[in-house]
């Protein structure tokens, strides 16, 4: 099958769905898109002329073996259940979620719990640069245990300026992506409290360290966190989803309730649920995640942001070393 005749399904109607549609169209792929709400479908049909916008998941999956799930982590199970009626064993599913579902269920686990597909891949790394739309080199990480999944992702972007880095460590890619949003919340809080650039650097380092500790405990590879899906994701300048998280963090630090802060931004802030679930998991597994737990407490209004962040900044750096060597 050549890429010119290839069909791809996109389930979800957010910004990522639009960016992906544009990119796939440019490579000659026929895009079939489904979104739950009619007004979103109408809007997308008007904005994306060459995309077939479908009213049902079944219609969107017709003749396609490649499925993109572009909904947030907490909606993945629900959409996967709908998709499950049309899923087949040779389908490849890629998702771009950067969070977890209730019970710290990772995105690939949420998808797998609802349908028969095996070949699931996570898009990660500095993925948001795809939204840039310029001809500058754009890079994403695809994590999947199946080489067929990553080969397909590479085929889909061949001839574009997008470069795909591959890893079999899907757990690492997902944990790194999810925890980076919690870190963004913390950085937003620190910025609002005017703690300075040093604090920002310390919080980002600590966030990465906690992602590593948790990821390794959940079966991820250490090297993933020092690669593009980990460090590589922290360095690029902030863009929409990261900015959303910083904005929410900043508003909470300035005294707004979580509800007020969430109402003030558009789009999903996956880091909030990740912080709640991460803190619960930390207690359950006995894994030390001080930053995640502090963000959780601040978001719940159980502690003062300044005091909690000061406490985090005072923590001994030895803790991080221990975390990397610990299993």
């Amino acid at each position: 099958m050549t890429s010119t005749t290839m069909k791809a399904t996109i389930l979800g109607g957010g910004r990522m769905a639009q960016v992906l549609s544009g990119m796939l169209l440019r490579t000659g792929v026929q895009v079939q898109l489904w979104a739950r709400r009619e007004e979103v479908r109408n809007k997308l049909a008007a904005a994306l002329k060459d995309v077939k916008v479908c009213a049902t998941v079944g219609e969107a999956c017709e003749g396609s073996r490649t499925v993109f799930l572009t909904v947030p982590a907490n909606a993945l199970a629900e959409v996967s259940a709908l998709y499950g009626d049309h899923a087949e064993g040779d389908h490849v599913v890629l998702h771009a979620a950067r969070g977890v579902a209730e019970g710290f269920v990772l995105p690939h686990q949420a998808i797998r719990s609802q349908c028969c597909v095996r070949k699931v891949g996570a898009l990660g790394g500095p993925l948001y640069t795809i939204a840039d739309g310029s001809s500058r080199p754009l890079v994403a990480v695809v994590g999947s245990r199946f080489t067929e999944t990553v080969e397909l992702a590479r085929r889909l972007v061949s001839g574009t300026s997008v470069r795909i880095h591959i890893t079999s460590d899907i757990v690492g890619v997902e944990v790194a992506g999810a925890v980076s949003n919690v870190t963004a919340l913390a950085v937003g809080m620190a910025d609002a409290l005017d703690l300075g650039e040093t604090a920002r650097g310390v919080l980002m380092t600590r966030g990465l360290s906690e992602a590593t500790r948790l990821g390794v405990r959940l079966g991820a590879e250490l090297s993933t966190f020092s690669g593009l899906a980990g460090v590589g994701d922290l360095i690029p300048r902030p863009v929409s989803s990261m900015q959303r998280h910083r904005d929410v963090g900043a508003r909470v630090a300035q005294g707004a309730t979580l509800e007020q802060a969430l109402a003030s931004v558009q789009g999903c802030v996956e880091g909030v649920l990740t912080a709640f679930e991460g803190a619960a998991l930390s207690r359950r597994l006995g894994v030390k995640l001080p930053l995640v737990c502090a963000v959780d407490q601040i978001l719940r209004g159980e502690t003062q942001p300044r005091a909690a962040l000061d406490e985090i900044l005072r923590l001994d750096i030895e803790l991080e070393r221990e975390s990397v060597s610990a299993r």
């Binding site: 899923a87 609802q114 245990r145 199946f146």
Partner: protein, 548 residues
């Protein structure tokens, strides 16, 4: 196996291997001369340690012949030599199932096991007659037996039992017969064939030979292809997925998946041929003993070189006929039970299957499994993809083992005593505690009862949620009943009892054995509230780091 199938399988095996190696040579991924040189190197090296002079000379002659002819062989002739080596290996592996022998043995009914056990020593067979131990009343076959029978009708079954003892293959073979199923093929270590009489029975009851001393990659390829072909010819198989008996006594957590992957190969080949019943099912089964014949040797091996256990043990209790007979007699004289629990079947991709042999997704919808193996619209094997599917099957098997393991009194009693010892000797390295003993040697009987009570509460709660199965005394008895039954079993067979009661105290007389029997409860997190670290690492193949 039927003689005509045997011949067909061996011929096909040879041509498949020659074809596969020829194809990878054409692609440039393999060199035929390297494959041959590898085989010659590995085998000549191994043969240096072969004790049997006749075998050594015969084998040496074969390999030197191959070596000599290889030097002046053309590419085509080298491939023929590969075929010759493949045939050489496959003839050694292949079992020969004789229906007449099988019928004769099974007609004997219950004394089958006794015959097999006594077959190791004809003299003892005569001496013991007519007081042969039988399995009647000792072996309980339970779980999804009807489901297994149904899957056998709908496709080919790979039965995958847990493996702790060399007795397993005999017990599983017997359980299969008890369920009214035809004999399953299984791979048995070469050492089990060393007794001519037992070897004769095993061979005729479906065993084929696996020589784990052979490290030649081609041998492993032949072995896998042989298993694949038997599955394609609709012979149900038994695979012991741990690869060897579990040394620690714990439930296997890390399975060797190479042979299990043959299920996918057979399924793909069946689809390619358009077979009417192409399906292959993987069915887990769990064997639970009160006492394990080779416990002393196995745990000693585990502790001696944690993580570097001998892969092949040839001098254990199984090789001593007297021990086997004593074990069988004494165990069967107690109201002791061995449980063989059949789990729900899976497809080779890790999906559960229903009684119609249909695969189900997590929401119970039927799945067309042929789509898992499609490449460009055709069924085809894909090494990396299939290995990943098999890994998932492995994970599901491990879950099933934990759920279907039947906890016995020896496990609970040993766990309670060792937990108390660990509490009495805080901070002491676990291996040191087991090897040298702690500062306080014995434990109070009442404390053991209290600990057993706590364990029973945890276990019964877990069993209620379907997380484990319980033996009758563990299920309904009091803590006193459980300890009494556990100690009674410890006293009857092992060289030294694992623990003995003296008045109101219990003395752990063989701490290694206690460790062995308590390990069967690893993986259930029974001490999560107690602040005691697990004894074994998550893979159950080594000690937990810093276990104290």
């Amino acid at each position: 196996m039927r003689q005509e199938d045997q011949e067909r399988i061996l011929t096909e095996l040879r041509s498949r291997l020659v074809r596969d190696i020829g194809q990878s040579a054409d692609k440039g991924t393999t060199r035929v001369d390297e494959v041959l040189a590898d085989s010659i190197y590995h085998e000549l090296r191994r043969l240096k340690d072969e004790h049997d002079r006749k075998t050594r000379e015969r084998e040496m002659e074969f390999w030197r012949g191959i070596q000599k002819r290889m030097r002046r062989a053309s590419d085509r002739a080298q491939l023929d030599l590969v075929g010759e080596v493949a045939s050489h290996y496959s003839r050694e592996i292949a079992g020969y199932f004789d229906m007449r022998v099988y019928r004769a043995v099974t007609r004997a009914g219950e004394p089958l096991l006794a015959m097999l056990l006594n077959a190791m020593s004809p003299k003892r067979l005569v001496q013991s007659f007519p007081h042969l131990p039988t399995l009647e009343g000792t072996l309980t076959v339970q779980g999804e037996t009807a489901h297994l029978r149904r899957l056998h009708e709908l496709g080919t079954v790979i039965l995958v039992p847990t493996h702790v003892s060399n007795m397993d293959s005999i017990i599983v073979g017997y359980a299969v017969w008890k369920m009214g199923l035809p004999p399953f093929l299984y791979g048995a270590g070469l050492n089990l064939f060393s007794n001519p009489i037992l070897g004769y029975f095993m061979r005729n009851l479906g065993a084929y030979t696996v020589d784990r001393r052979k490290t030649d990659p081609l041998y492993k390829q032949v072995l896998k292809e042989y298993a694949t072909l038997t599955l394609e010819h609709e012979y149900d198989n038994i695979f012991f997925p741990g690869g060897t008996r579990c040394r620690s006594g714990a439930i296997e957590r890390k399975l060797k998946l190479g042979l299990l992957g043959t299920g996918i190969s057979a399924y793909v080949n069946n689809l390619k041929r358009g077979k009417a019943q192409p399906k292959v099912f993987v069915v887990p089964a769990t064997l639970s003993y009160q006492l394990v014949l080779e416990a002393e040797t196995l745990i000693d091996d585990f502790l001696k070189e944690v993580g570097k256990s001998r892969y092949i043990i040839t001098d254990d209790e199984f090789s001593k006929p007297q021990r086997v007979l004593d074990f069988a007699k004494q165990l069967f004289n107690l109201d002791s039970r061995i449980f063989f629990t059949v789990g729900r079947g899976l497809d080779p991709f890790g999906n559960p299957v229903d009684d119609d042999g249909e695969s189900l997704d997590p929401r119970g919808r039927r799945v067309d499994t042929s789509r898992y193996v499609m490449l460009n619209g055709q069924p085809a094997e894909h090494e990396q993809r299939d290995a990943e599917y098999t890994r998932e099957v492995g994970n599901k098997l491990v879950e099933s083992y934990l759920e279907d393991n039947v906890v016995q009194c020896t496990n609970v009693t040993a766990r309670a005593i060792l937990t108390l010892m660990r509490r009495q000797n805080p901070g002491m390295d676990l291996v040191r505690l087991i090897r040298a003993g702690g500062k306080v040697e014995d434990v109070e009987l009442l404390a053991v009862y209290r600990e057993v009570e706590r364990l029973l509460m945890e276990l019964r709660g877990l069993a209620g949620r379907g997380g484990v199965r319980l033996g009758p005394v563990v299920d309904h008895g009091t803590a006193e009943d459980v300890v009494a039954d556990g100690l009674r079993h410890f006293a009857i067979y092992h060289t030294e009892a694992a623990a003995t009661r003296r008045g109101d105290r219990i003395f752990p007389t063989d701490r290694a054995l206690l460790f062995y029997y308590q390990n069967r409860l690893e993986g259930y997190r029974l001490e999560r509230e107690e602040g005691i670290k697990p004894a074994l690492a998550p893979d159950h193949k080594s000690l937990y780091r810093g276990a104290a």
